[in-house]
């Protein structure tokens, strides 16, 4: 890529990117970690675990008053739906094809422009279809790489989402001079399949996806 199409894009600071609150607290904050250590009453499973109990884990009266042991042992039953933030986390770390920056940092992918809808589950259909729409904002409105970026997002989502998801990747209205054309390319199954046969293109894509965390 000899000519850089947009040599001076606006860059978001990594600390200004959206993150899931609970996770950021668990992973990033050292003082939150210490806070957890200080204030979390140990539960029956860790501190007071006794291998010699007739049935482990059910130690009678000794869990009194704790009730704060949910963090280490995640609640096994509560389901967590795939939401916009999760989609964001999947695709915002894709690298831009011409800058050593992520799509999140370049504001190509933005959390408010991701839409996830789940159809309600019914007894007849316990796993209904879900739909995800990602709107891409190219850094400049004549960006010829918009299609490649869109394709990257699409490939990443197809790899990472369960098959019950319908995936829609579009250029955000009014951010590109040939929105319709690009959208057509991105959502035409055969064209996408054909593109994935192209080795050079796949090479570019796998480099973009290599930074996904």
């Amino acid at each position: 890529m000899s000519d850089i199409i947009n040599a001076n894009p606006t860059i978001l600071n990594p600390s200004d990117l959206p993150t899931r609150h609970s996770e950021s607290r668990k992973k990033q904050s050292s003082s939150a970690h210490i806070a957890d250590k200080i204030s979390r009453l140990p539960n029956s499973k860790s501190l007071l675990y006794d291998p010699f109990l007739p049935s482990p884990g059910e130690d009678s009266a000794y869990s009194s008053g704790s009730g704060s042991d949910q963090d280490d042992y995640e609640d096994e039953t509560a389901a967590e739906d795939i939401d916009e933030q999760e989609i964001y986390d999947l695709i915002s770390t894709i690298s831009d094809p011409e800058h050593p920056l992520s799509l999140g940092e370049l504001a190509v992918i933005n959390l408010p422009h991701i839409y996830v809808t789940h159809a309600p589950a019914t007894p007849q259909n316990p796993h209904p279809m879900s739909h995800v729409l990602v709107e891409i904002t190219p850094t400049i409105n004549h960006c010829s790489l918009a299609t490649v970026i869109g394709l990257g997002v699409r490939v990443r989502l197809e790899q990472a989402l369960p098959p019950r998801f319908r995936i829609d990747v579009r250029i955000r209205e009014g951010t590109h001079q040939s929105t319709d054309q690009v959208n057509k390319q991105l959502n035409d199954k055969e064209r996408v399949a054909a593109a994935c046969e192209n080795e050079t293109l796949m090479g570019v894509l796998s480099n973009m996806l290599a930074t996904c965390k």
């Binding site: 939150a32 204030s39 501190l47 006794d50 704790s66 999760e86 796998s206 996806l209 996904c212």
Partner: protein, 1023 residues
């Protein structure tokens, strides 16, 4: 035969004998039995012999004789000419040099001799003809005469320098160059080289840049860096070289080699520092023009760093002798050029050159106080104006960040609070801008939208850095900064902000502890609720307080406040959670202090009696006590007591352990109890069988305290065996699991540390024998009440590699297939190999090297064998025991036995037990990378089982599923491609289900795992 002849005959046959002959000849000379003249005469014919080897040997003889003579015997004039004459001769240069070295070492070595020697060497030596070893000797001779008769050589004028330079022409050997460079430096510094400066310079500079690479097995151990350093010393030795040096260096700066560039920049730095100010004043403009490019357009941080060093060095030398800013000084001119350029770049603070420009400014600002003043006065007004004109927050942020290095530079020049060095006499120029800077950075931190994290962080950084500078902010200003930070820590929604603010408070707590105590502590303490609330409103605050309290005076304040708070909270009938947190924060600080090498034993008086009294007295009035006797809180209290006692010496420990036994064992009055002594004395009976649960549970504290006692301290009991028997008895009818564990730990600690005599060992054999009998008679885990004690006793013994452990462990292994007890025994193995916090090296327990390994080697074959023979129902018990063992030993041990263990591990994946599954998968994960061929054999069944384990059900908890997916994701990179590729399709399809796992964290693992398998076999772009 005359000695010369004898020598010549002997030298080829036996060098030792030849040396002996030479020494004997020297002795005769010394005893005046022989005179030098006749010796040289007898040598004469050999010295002129047609055969060059004979000539060389003859000189060798002469040289060896001279070397063997006492240095005072001859005057060099007597022997020199004979030895110098053959210099032109190609043969025997080595031998000649030996002779010369001997002569130069004589005490009557005269100035004329040195001059003559130098002249002859210059005149007649054509070193190129000789091997490097001979050349080395010539350089050694030069080195010797330069150190013996330097003044004489100086009197030779430029002849010596030019002679030397010619002598060394084309020398390339690193060992020789090391001598040459050090000699050249002497010549440059001390000799008169005015007429031949360029010649001498060229002799040095022709080696620049040094590209030498140290060969492997280099016998001399000379590195490229050694050569670079010596050469640099030559180049920087004379300011007069600047005319030649700088132009040539700058030319080489255009090189493409990063190594050359680095060398050039380092040499410029060294010379800029060493040369006279007047010289640098002539060159700063050329240098600056070239070097700035290396910073502003740096592609390599390393080079930029070197370039900054050079820029700083120039400012430093130009600052010499300046005590105030002078408009006409060369420094001023230099800094004008520098600041003008950087200011221009900083007008657009988002541009690529902005940040490098900021580092340049910081680099010149640290060069000297005057340089600092000039820089600050030149740039800050401009930067402020630019800042005021910026409208976008992103640009403002970049500008604030660009100024930060100047604060660090100021702190370097003017020191930080607490530095004892005197500050420079020149006033800190930054002071003129203090109010403005305070306002700009405060506004960024406190007055902007909460979402502007990086902008606010820049504000926070600036305030922190400015607060550090000594005598810059007044205390009330730092006080305001501390208040800002307090507010951020207590109320901000962004973790990053809170963390950074706390980090900054930590910095300030070391520089200005009083402000933290006066402002932060009350603010934080006020945030702590007086009763336990269901939302945890106190955890972050306590965490912050604990982190701030590592400094001693602050910790004292924390203790007072926490104890007061504890009183209030307990009076409000709190549950255990809040008191637990309060005490844990004390424990946290003690641990941090201990880790940073501070003596915490001195906190005993303040903490231990207080905590023990507060815990015990409420248990003595029949009310059932308060939250302090909840076992989790007891555990923390125990840890605090243990940690403090551990750091005491033998004498103090003896005293404390005596008092503890008074309270818990002998029921006599103890100094530890500070109130209601009598009541405690009467009512506190924790070791009675009829004790209440709460009283009995306080043994947790007692066990932790006793565990920390050094082995040299005798426990204050007449009969330890009896005491242990009593504890064992109590452990059979425990009041609670943690009560039993405390008792068992206490037993284990005492046995491990104190039961070493034959009588004690006999006692152990006998009592464990009895326990074993009762276990054999038992028909349920409840009736096998000695089982736990057996495990703990075995552990205590096994840790010190005591053979007594073997029969106990052997018996325990035997009953794994017992229908009634097998399950419990299987789980019991967790005790045996698990690390115990009390029974540890830190607590002075006897923990022998390899004790784990011994136990592992003892158990595993028996387990594998037993497993094969066991009934299907009992197999699980073996796997449980195995899993407990594997989880607790280093994976290296497991890998050594993996051939026998892998089948068991695979089977354990079919067991309905989450912990076993996780442990097995974790072990398998290590196996995949470490024992690839073995895994390759079993790959099919392994993959099937791991895929099954990745689907959610009762047994496959989040932990199991995560472990399974992680293990699967190792395969593609760890195993050979033709082994794994057949499974790609199967796995890609099977992983679709985990992609829809109800848990987000599992889905994440599935996505990563699938991506790894997806990439398998794809052609890589970069290859």
């Amino acid at each position: 035969m005359d000695p010369a002849q004898l020598y010549l005959v002997a030298i080829d046959r036996d060098p030792d004998e030849a040396a002996q002959i030479a020494r004997a000849t020297a002795k005769r000379l010394e005893n005046k039995e022989l005179i030098l003249l006749s010796l040289t005469k007898s040598l004469g014919e050999y010295l002129t012999n047609d055969d060059r080897t004979i000539r060389a040997k003859a000189i060798g003889f002469y040289a060896t004789v001279l070397t063997a003579l006492p240095p005072t015997l001859l005057s060099p004039a007597q022997g020199t000419s004979e030895i110098l004459h053959p210099l032109e001769d190609e043969a025997g240069l080595k031998e000649v040099c030996h002779g010369l070295l001997a002569i130069a070492g004589m005490s009557r070595f005269q100035p004329e001799d040195a001059q003559m020697m130098a002249r002859s060497i210059f005149k007649s030596c054509d070193l190129l003809k000789h091997p490097q070893g001979s050349r080395y000797l010539v350089y050694q001779v030069m080195d010797k005469i330069m150190s013996e008769q330097r003044e004489a050589l100086k009197r030779m004028g430029p002849d010596f320098a030019t002679g030397y330079v010619e002598l060394i022409t084309n020398e390339k050997d690193p060992r020789n160059l090391m001598i040459i460079f050090s000699n050249l430096k002497v010549i440059i510094v001390e000799f008169d080289i005015e007429d031949c400066e360029e010649q001498v310079f060229d002799a040095c500079f022709c080696y620049f840049p040094i590209t030498f690479k140290q060969p492997p097995n280099d016998p001399y151990g000379i590195t490229a860096q050694d050569l670079k350093d010596r050469l640099r010393e030559c180049l920087q030795a004379s300011s007069k070289f600047s005319v030649f040096l700088f132009p040539q260096l700058l030319e080489k700066l255009d090189s493409h080699s990063a190594n050359t560039k680095k060398d050039v920049l380092q040499t410029i730095t060294a010379c800029a520092l060493a040369y006279e100010k007047s010289i640098i004043a002539n060159y700063w403009a050329t240098l600056w023009d070239a070097i700035k490019y290396e910073v502003l357009n740096a592609s390599d941080d390393d080079l930029a760093f070197e370039a900054l060093d050079a820029i700083r060095a120039i400012a430093k030398t130009l600052s010499a002798k300046l005590t105030s800013v002078m408009k006409t000084s060369s420094l001023d001119k230099y800094l004008k050029a520098v600041t003008k350029e950087c200011l221009t770049q900083l007008r657009n603070p988002m541009a690529k050159q902005a940040r490098p420009s900021a580092s340049i400014l910081a680099a010149v600002a640290v060069a000297s106080p005057v340089s600092h003043a000039t820089t600050i006065q030149a740039v800050l007004p401009g930067l402020s104006t630019t800042y005021d004109g910026l409208e976008e927050i992103a640009k403002q942020r970049s500008m604030l960040q660009a100024i930060l290095p100047l604060f660090d530079a100021t702190a370097q020049v003017y020191g930080v609070w607490g530095d004892i060095e005197y500050p420079p006499s020149l006033n800190n120029s930054l002071e003129a801008f203090k109010d403005n800077l305070f306002e700009i950075y405060s506004r960024a931190l406190m007055g902007s939208a909460k979402d502007e994290v990086s902008f606010r962080l820049a504000g926070l950084d600036g305030l922190t850095k400015m607060s550090r500078i000594k005598n810059f902010f007044a205390d009330n200003e730092i006080g305001m900064v501390v208040q800002f930070f307090d507010e951020v820590v207590l109320t901000d929604e962004k973790d990053e902000m809170r963390d950074s603010a706390l980090e900054s408070l930590l910095v300030l707590s070391r520089l200005k502890p009083s402000l933290i105590m006066e402002i932060t502590f009350p603010a934080f303490m006020a945030k702590l609720p007086d009763r336990e609330e269901h939302e945890k409103s106190y955890d972050m605050t306590l965490s912050a307080l604990a982190q701030l309290s590592v400094e001693r005076p602050v910790f004292q304040v924390l203790l007072t406040r926490i104890f007061n708070k504890l009183n209030i909270v307990l009076n409000n009938k709190s549950g255990p959670g809040y008191p637990f947190a309060l005490l844990s924060s004390i424990l946290y600080v003690l641990r941090r202090k201990h880790e940073t090498g501070k003596d915490i034993s001195t906190h005993y008086t303040r903490i231990v009696p207080e905590l023990i009294t507060r815990t015990i007295t409420p248990l003595c009035d029949g009310s059932g006590g308060n939250a302090l006797s909840h076992e989790a809180v007891l555990e923390v209290t125990g840890n605090i007591v243990s940690l403090i006692i551990r750091s005491m010496d033998v004498e103090k420990q003896t005293e404390v352990v005596g008092e503890l036994f008074k309270i818990f064992v002998t029921q006599t009055e103890s100094a530890i109890i500070t109130s209601d002594k009598e009541l405690v004395n009467k009512q506190f009976r924790p070791l009675d069988e009829s004790a209440s649960l709460q009283q009995a549970s306080t043994i947790i504290i007692f066990a932790s305290a006793v565990a920390a006692i050094r082995r040299e301290v005798t426990l204050p009991l007449e009969n330890l065996q009896q005491f242990v028997e009593k504890l064992v008895l109590l452990s059979k009818t425990p009041k609670s699991p943690s009560h039993r564990r405390a008792l068992l730990r206490l037993i284990a600690v005492i046995i491990n540390k104190y039961f070493t005599t034959p009588e004690d060992r006999a006692f152990l054999t006998q009592s464990t024998g009895e326990m074993w009998k009762s276990v054999q008679l038992a028909d349920s885990p409840e009736t096998a009440s000695s089982l736990p004690a057996l495990f703990w006793i075995a552990k205590a013994l096994a840790l010190r590699n005591d053979k007594l452990a073997d029969p106990i462990v052997g018996r325990l292994l035997e009953i794994l297939d017992n229908q009634a007890l097998g399950v419990t025994v299987g789980r019991g193995f967790e005790v045996l190999l698990g690390d115990d916090p009390l029974l540890s090296k830190e607590n002075f327990a006897v923990v022998r090297l390899l004790s784990q390994q011994k136990l592992f080697v003892f158990c595993v074959p028996k387990l594998v064998e037993g497993f094969r023979a066991a009934s299907p129902a009992a197999k699980k018990n073996y796997l449980h025991a195995l899993s407990s063992i594997i989880r607790n030993v280093p994976s290296k041990l497991v890998l050594a036995e993996i051939d026998t263990l892998l089948p068991l591990l695979l089977q354990s994946l079919d067991i309905e037990d989450s912990d076993i599954k996780t442990a097995s998968i974790d072990t398998l994960s290590v196996t995949v990378t470490e024992a690839t061929s073995l895994v390759s054999e079993h790959i099919s069944s392994l993959i099937t089982r791991l895929l099954a384990a990745s689907l959610p059900n009762e047994v496959n908890t989040v932990q199991v599923r995560t472990a399974a997916l992680r293990c699967l994701s190792i395969f593609p990179s760890a195993l050979k491609i033709d082994v794994v590729i057949p499974y790609k399709r199967q796995i890609m399809r099977a992983l679709l289900k985990p992609l829809d796992d109800p848990k987000r964290s599992v889905r994440k693992e599935a996505v990563d795992c699938r991506a790894r398998w997806f990439a398998l076999g794809e052609p890589k772009e970069d290859d």
